[in-house]
Point group: D2
Chain length 369, copies 4
């Protein structure tokens, strides 16, 4: 019941602080024989890496992942995979000014309450830097899915920055990869750019909305009660820094719907079950339906801002806090590959659980009867 682990058969455990010597992840339970190498994982880390464009933090980290175990001659062996990333650019000095102050919106105060200590160097364990190790491990999960469920495609993108939401009628999946904001709507791109730069200029930050759409999942992954696919996705998403909501399918909108609208009807199309709509977001009763799985998260604005906020010193004096240093005006941008990684980890775990209990993805489709 490790408090730093996630997953059941495929189990991720991460460790490390943003300003310690290194961070890393151990992934246990990976099937043997999967092709994995450092370049393959680096692709995903490079997507997440800060300092890539003018909209994200200028902290420079190579974020080079090293595989220390579990892979031999280019393939997984079935033993634990240890992924390590050295911290190179951690400039602890940036943080000395806030050493004796609690930063509003940060983990400072709650850590101090819980543990009676504080790693004031950039947030320690609570830094978003920890998510690098998830992205690396997510790369392994993607390779597992590629091997066993190659039809699965995981696509993350931003749907909102501040009050500026995309127009879904402009949705263009091809746009996402080439866009600074992983945005599927090219018409909003310039607007978002100007807006984020204006936020950065005034030293503020802004919230955002990220969605992950998974196509090609076979029906049958998940379980009815406490290992529901949506419950595990919700838990995994909510562990990402700054996430304050998780929605599946229509999410909060279902409160306004009637059953006659919300029930996705189905019929047989070329001997395949086909749905009239996807209000459920690809999951019914905790189990995948075969439709696109839709998960959406709201990410709060980064709490590190240049605008002074009232706070306390560690000895209980009133103070004001300004967080200088290098920070993100919109942390949601870098959350996209992290959210994708978490989805990949949950799906790969559920595939293994399913295979353990049921044996294989069964095909009860009607042409077999």
């Amino acid at each position: 019941m490790s408090i730093n682990s996630l997953g059941r058969l495929l189990r991720l455990s991460t460790w490390g602080e943003s300003h310690g010597p290194a961070i890393g992840a151990m992934l246990d339970g990976c099937p043997p024989g999967i092709e994995i190498n450092e370049s393959l994982l680096q692709v995903w880390l490079d997507k997440r890496r800060p300092g890539q464009n003018k909209y994200t933090t200028q902290r420079r980290e190579d974020d080079k992942v090293e595989i220390l175990s579990g892979v031999f001659e280019g393939k997984t062996t079935g033993t634990p995979i240890q992924l390590l990333i050295w911290n190179k650019d951690h400039r602890s000095k940036d943080y000395s000014v806030i050493k004796d102050k609690f930063r509003p919106g940060h983990a400072d105060l709650t850590y101090w309450h819980k543990y009676g200590n504080r790693d004031y160097r950039g947030g320690g364990r609570s830094s978003a830097r920890e998510t690098s190790s998830r992205v690396a491990a997510g790369g392994v999960a993607r390779a597992i899915l590629q091997e066993f469920l190659p039809s699965i495609k995981i696509l993350g993108y931003m749907t909102q920055i501040g009050e500026l939401a995309i127009d879904r009628t402009n949705f263009n999946a091809a746009e996402i990869e080439q866009n600074d904001f992983w945005c599927p709507d090219s018409s909003i791109n310039e607007k978002w750019g100007r807006y984020v730069l204006s936020i950065r200029k005034k030293g503020d930050s802004v919230g955002s909305m990220v969605e992950v759409c998974v196509s090609g999942t076979p029906p049958g992954l998940g379980a009815p009660i406490y290992a529901k696919l949506d419950s595990d996705l919700a838990a995994a998403m909510m562990t990402i820094n700054a996430v304050k909501s998780v929605e599946i399918g229509d999410g909060v909108q279902v409160a306004s719907l009637q059953g006659s609208e919300n029930n996705d009807e189905f019929f047989l199309d070329n001997k395949k079950v086909t749905f009239s709509s996807n209000h459920s977001g690809g999951i019914l009763a905790g189990i995948s339906t075969g439709q696109d799985i839709i998960v959406r998260i709201a990410i709060k604005p980064a709490s590190s801002i240049l605008i002074p906020k009232n706070s306390l010193t560690t000895t209980g004096e009133s103070t004001q806090v300004v967080t200088t240093g290098r920070h993100d005006p919109c942390v949601g941008i870098r959350a996209v590959p992290v959210a994708e990684a978490m989805v990949a980890l949950v799906l790969a775990d559920h595939f293994l659980i399913h295979r353990g209990q049921i044996g294989h993805i069964k095909d009860y489709s009607f042409d077999n009867q």
Copy 2:
């Protein structure tokens, strides 16, 4: 890694189908010496019981809970507590008409895909009836909290039915208990009543929004990464039938906020840390701040409706499905005590984990320095 269990040190496992002989819950890890008896647990079950007013299903279940183990001479012994509820009014015949059809929006199709079988008797394991056993177990969790953290109060209520949301300026906690809808805004009561009856009349169902507010939680419960308090709450909430979103604090609204708005400032008031606002919903970096914990869930409209929907038979023929029998026009009403129970279970578990790792709720408040 049981797929029908929840929690770490305080571990809930539930079992049973809606139309089998009984359902139940085993709660493991309960501290010894807590006063528990069947009447005390029955209070919470009676809150959830169907057939209580004209807005809920007319299925009649006594829902009498029996304690089969773990309690001796009125107190918990520290061994597993088995709670059993017999199914009395399960009328399997009601379901014969849909035996060979998949009901849209139900678990029918996904179960069939996963397990290759179907318990057509009212949904089997996926029936909301399973939540009775959670409510009973939640009663034990409440007793644990009452013993060790008596300042905690857990208050669940509805904030929206269909498109009709409460006016938060009318919020009156005292109203909730005496209200057919667990609604804190008496001004909307009559409107909701008329609306739900109109939904019932046309054989449809409607979605809703339920919120749980926990006051009196000490700071320090939770953990920074994968045992985050908000992650565990999200997982627990998402296991409740029909829930499609989980929000903490401002939830989806944070996407629209800027850091200068969203950061809750704090100051010292009478030697106690006090906050200017509670956008964070009482949780920062996975750990409780001491403010009210706010969790909000959207509940989809029940999929069992009297309006015909397109579907398939189990042999792949096109058909239409109407779910006759006794069902809820607004299942959210009965979800309120369930959501409260899940919150109680998560908090009690986190209290025990915290006590295990840290020893006790530490008081690092400034008057001790």
Copy 3:
């Protein structure tokens, strides 16, 4: 991390006290479609039931198991299987005389130290009665093995009572079932009978040794480090009441061996790997070799005896304790079906884990190359 659960994918949780209303077991993670019914499980319970011959306790329990969930129309559904056994003959009055005394060798004192309470009615949770629920759950595990690995045969038997050990040259598997002692050596039967009756006559009890031999296990079950097959077997065996040692293969004897004696050599016989010996007891580096798995446990003499022993009252006065009531002169006799059940549960769990991680029992035998 339930403290009353065992297993990973196939997860057993038991509950109940010897003198409460009932005991039971929940088995989670069972594959769907396995034929299970109460008669099938009853077979194993009847083997364990007390009062069957003059060598065991005269407590009369029907030990009728009821299946409350997880089975529909004669087959498992994939949801949790709840097995319940009512306590019928629990005569609490028998225990009143020792209510205020700690019985030497019993759980009385350690429970009191741990929990600050005592269920003096027959040992409460620590009674061997709890093992009935394991035997019932073991029946399900056997059915899983029968379905997927039908070559597996699990055979438990006694090899020693007190200082009287069997002569292994007389080993006759066919003898075991028809023997009051599950003894494979008919030549020692009468001797054991006289010995156990003499022990009973003087109100004493005696220790014993039980061995379980599993033939037909495919190679490849288990894992190299902390989910070693032998580690999981050791844990499972050591949870059985009164067990004080667990040996795999040659067990304690390996301390005296040299590598040149202990290494099991192998060669190819008809394209199948064949071993010259089985010192390893069928497990190398935590993984099954395909040879017979041999597990052996020493069971201490029951602590309930009619011979007075020095002890203390619950208020700290010196006293002497005699445990009247119905008890077993040699509890090891009834441990045989319990040990078999635990082995079945561990193997079925490891089969599912293996299938989850690896996909199927691979056949790397040499005729495929």
Copy 4:
């Protein structure tokens, strides 16, 4: 349910192969504020390090442990502690000769059966090298015990090499640390020395018996059924390479005892419960009694020997195997600090679990009444 993890609240996960770049351990759930540094852990690793005397392998490893996370300014923070040991002297060439052969008694064949692959470089994950990371993590567990239960002393020693057992009447704890064999009986020292050298000379290996005695454990640690202290100790011990039996207290000898001999009587001595004997090895019904905890393991002779044994090549040809390279004539010598580490990890975990469920070590001793 990680298959490379051990423990519940204090959770050890190890990773790494003997001939990969590094091995390591992550320890999760450690209380904050414990003083830890690399020198403190190095003490225990140095005890285990090979090449220290003429009786163990001449492989030279510095085995320098590095703390990569979870410790800040000399104290644990409550976040995961990552311990890393680089592999320096791994000379893969030594193993090329056995690349295409299965070594009898090794993991080679079972790994190949399970995973379909083989890390022929020194056994990969199954090498005893993995135990270094346990010893490092055990150092943290010792520091936890030192902080919270300082009365606990963990003492491991050898009691038998081959057929040469110590004479327990010569037991002298002070002898152990200064003895090449961790032997408490100085009278057998020279005999063991000659014997082990003769084994080495003929290229053979020999089994041994190691015992760990824990004094000063408070009563109350453990749990009645599946988290029994003895069950968790048995599981932990059986995960150590080459261990084939685990005994608690009198172990296999209890089979020969009668209840009137085996029951440890108790009386009050200066208001403290005192026992007449310790047949139970300090554990009754899964819970510590307060007496010395006695755990004993038999360790098989190392399978790597210079004496040719019959085996097969990976393509199924008959062959003979001789394992050249640097190996231990008696691996049990280096198992002593490993066994101590495992005991420390289990006890520290059970302390935290106890504190979580019960709150503190309760003192129900009679002077409080």
